[in-house]
Amino acid sequence: MYQSSRGTRLIKLAISVLSISNLFFIGSLKAEDILYIGAIPDQNPEHLNRLYGVLSSELSEQLNVQVRYKPVTNYAAAVTAFRTGDLDLVWFGALTGVQARLQTKGSKVIAQRDIDEKFHSVFIANKKSSIQKINNINDLTTLKGKRFTFGSESSTSGRLMPQYFLSNASLQLQDFKGSRPGFSGSHDATLMLVQSGSYEAGALSEKVWKRNLERGRVDPSKVFVIWKTPSYHNYHWLAQGNLDKKFKEGFTKDLTNVFLSFNEKSKKQKQILELFSAKKFIISKNENYNQIEKVGREIGKIK
């Protein structure tokens, strides 16, 4: 009897000591100004961690501030995080960038990659479907009554622009088989699901299509491109309007210049450019996305 109660007393003592020592871990947070950067991920975590690891350290070195990368997986969450000021600088897709900018007063597009100026989507089809290559946008009507999938519902190249071109060819969403399109969730998923034949056709970013071609993940006997869309502006860096106030006068300009100065001579910068699959970053501005905003409103993704 005595033994067991001593045992439990020891347990209690150990537990309370542990609890108290645990609480000591919790110190106070250093209130230092940190530049929070984020991105809407369209790649695997390994790639993202490498990419933003290098980018953070390079930005921190050049700008002399602490830089921290916050991963976000959900398009809407990234927009909100920007609106609430949890993120200072975000790598947005065109649509989400416009959504975030309209909800965040003073925010500003600062830069984009060379390839983002002339971005394309491709419509792809399964060989077993009776769909043929088309030359004219109006021939998109060939997709009527087919099983068709977009990527993620907030994606510019996987949904917004493809839907826009479809509606230009006067094809509505309920014209697809099952009277609705699918939403595969990502560009890669769209490719895999069309290649497998689950969907007869789909639309995705040309860049992702090319990347998969290079990696040998496209089976040309099963899937092919039927049409490439005209070009539009896509991804860009969107910065909060208060960065000059938060850090120092002229900070936003310095930040932009750092991006513009990235080149292949420096080993680190070369790696960043490679991971972004770009040759260089170029300057960009809010007005470049007027078309996207208009399309977004037409389709109902921007209220």
Partner: protein
């Protein structure tokens, strides 16, 4: 004339009829175009990626998930216990003047419970942005309401005579209440609490899939880019942790029940909660989470009456609700019907052990992932959503059945078998029959959970209210978001009421007691 009353044993098998329409649809759309990807998925299981970056980020994700689950679990248990006690009839019997307050708490708890944690998460992230507390609060709200329900139901099922007796001796209300209630409350907290912890881990993982961080986020990103080797690294690590955790909890529980007296158990449970909470908090803190930055609430433009009316007009609400109900119906059939069916088809202790391993695996794979895999070899339709949702919950139902059977008396089975019956029919009458009432009662509760979870499956399959919610959220259309959330809530509350009635029926006819 006497109405024919179905025997509960056969009722456990009837739900599996759902397979017929589902398989017809799946087979009709079947193709082998995605075979090589399925093969890649399977073969990646034996060669997960050991890339240092991958393992590192998976491990970090896992830690975030467990720590977040720990914190949300403790908070939801504590709130749940308090609310649970407050919503018992028993409690208000001692203060009869305010008993309507108890009823009020009891019924208003149906609302937070009726909305899935992922939906709470998606809503809160809109208001508060990226903060680790968003995930915690999203778990705590529905979980504490659920815990409160279970606790109040269990407490109310006890005999209240002793309480009346003690009260009549003139002792203090609160102290007499504690004397009577505490010994009954603690065992419930022990068994139900450990079950809730597993749920919390599953919940946080799901939240991660929808962008709130942790291992779920890692899983989703690897799936999005079809990096199966990396995905399996996450899946195996999660599986391992789950098994270890289950083993640890089990042995800890049996140690406690053998060595700890009732008096100590109160302080022990308080210490467990304190320890877990501080462990979770300091863990997250060490992972560089800013736990002490206060939640920011950003201003949202609330929709006007006109916008809401517009939303009603633009949303195909009826169609969405029908799709949601259909998915629930078929998914429940699969989840409830499969485990008993497998049991009867493949009887025997060895097969039971194998089935148990399969169930663990099925519980582990989050439904959005299953959807994509199934979509690879069949054409998109509502069955895909139903099947993937059914598979996860089949894992939960299967575990319950096999666990109960492994602990059950084998005498009836032996008696029937020694009469010369086949193994199959002996299993049916000797093993399944004694379990069927409690199994069905639990099944009724599961339908409820499945209905709630259509919120997340629709998002991937492109059907039902769940998909529409994602679409409206990503268009920042608050009027539509409000309507859909309300529709979901109403649907679940109705479902809960219906299934609660049938659950009570099966429980009253049950031969063995269990805690859901």
């Amino acid at each position: 004339m006497k109405l024919i009353k179905p025997v509960s044993t056969s009722l456990t098998l009837i739900p599996s009829i759902a397979y017929i329409p589902i398989l017809i649809e799946i087979i009709k759309g079947f193709h082998i175009g995605g075979l090589n990807i399925i093969f890649q998925f399977i073969s990646s299981a034996i060669k997960p990626s050991f890339n240092q970056e991958v393992v590192k980020s998976a491990w970090e994700g896992l830690q975030i998930t467990i720590a977040t689950a720990l914190i949300s679990w403790v908070i939801s248990m504590l709130i749940g216990i308090v609310l649970g006690v407050l919503s018992t009839d028993l409690f208000w019997k001692s203060i009869p003047k305010f008993s309507c307050l108890g009823k009020f708490i009891k019924y208003s708890l149906a609302i937070p419970r009726s909305i899935h944690e992922v939906v709470w998460g998606l809503l809160f992230i809109q208001i508060s942005g990226l903060n680790v507390w968003v995930a915690i609060i999203s778990i705590v709200i529905p979980y504490s309401a659920l815990t409160a329900r279970v606790i109040s139901e269990q407490l109310d099922s006890f005999d209240i005579q002793p309480l009346i007796a003690i009260k009549q001796t003139g002792s203090n209300i609160i102290s007499s209440f504690i004397t009577i209630l505490l010994p009954k409350l603690i065992p419930i907290v022990f068994t139900y609490g450990s079950y809730r912890f597993e749920c919390a881990i599953r919940g946080v993982t799901l939240l991660g899939i929808f962008g709130l961080g942790g291992i779920g986020t890692e899983l989703y990103l690897t799936l999005k880019s079809f990096e199966f080797n990396e995905m399996w690294t996450c899946l195996w690590m999660l599986w391992l942790v789950m098994i270890l955790l289950e083993k640890f909890i089990r042995s800890f529980r049996s140690y406690l029940s053998e060595n700890i007296s009732l008096k100590n158990s109160f302080s022990i449970s308080i210490s467990i909660f304190t320890l877990s909470l501080s462990l979770g908090i300091s863990w997250l803190y060490n992972l560089n989470f800013e736990l002490f930055t206060p939640l920011s609430f950003s201003y949202l433009n609330l929709p006007s009456f006109l916008e809401i009316r517009n939303g009603f007009n633009t949303l195909p609400l009826f169609k969405l609700i029908i799709a949601t109900i259909l998915i629930t119906f078929f998914a429940s059939g699969i989840a409830i019907g499969t485990p008993p069916l497998l049991l009867v088809l493949f009887p025997g202790k060895f097969s039971l052990k194998v089935q148990n391993l399969i169930w663990i695996f099925f519980r582990l794979i989050p439904p959005p992932l299953t959807t994509i895999l199934i979509l690879l070899f069949t054409n998109p339709n509502i069955s895909v959503a139903a099947l993937s949702l059914g598979i996860t919950h089949m894992g939960v139902m299967g575990r319950l059945l096999t666990d109960n059977i492994l602990n059950q008396e084998k005498s009836i089975y032996r008696a029937i078998k020694s009469n010369g019956s086949s193994k199959q029919s002996a299993t049916l009458y000797g093993i399944l029959a004694p379990q069927s009432n409690s199994y069905l009662a639990y099944g009724a509760y599961r339908i409820d959970v499945i209905l709630k979870e259509t919120a997340i499956i629709g998002a991937v399959g492109g059907v039902g209210l769940g998909w529409q919610l994602q679409e409206s959220l990503s268009s920042f259309d608050w009027a539509q978001v409000m309507i859909i959330t309300a529709a979901f809530s109403l649907l679940t509350i109705t479902g809960e009421f219906l299934f609660n009635t049938s659950q009570n029926y099966w429980l009253n006819n049950s031969t063995n007691n269990f805690i859901s």
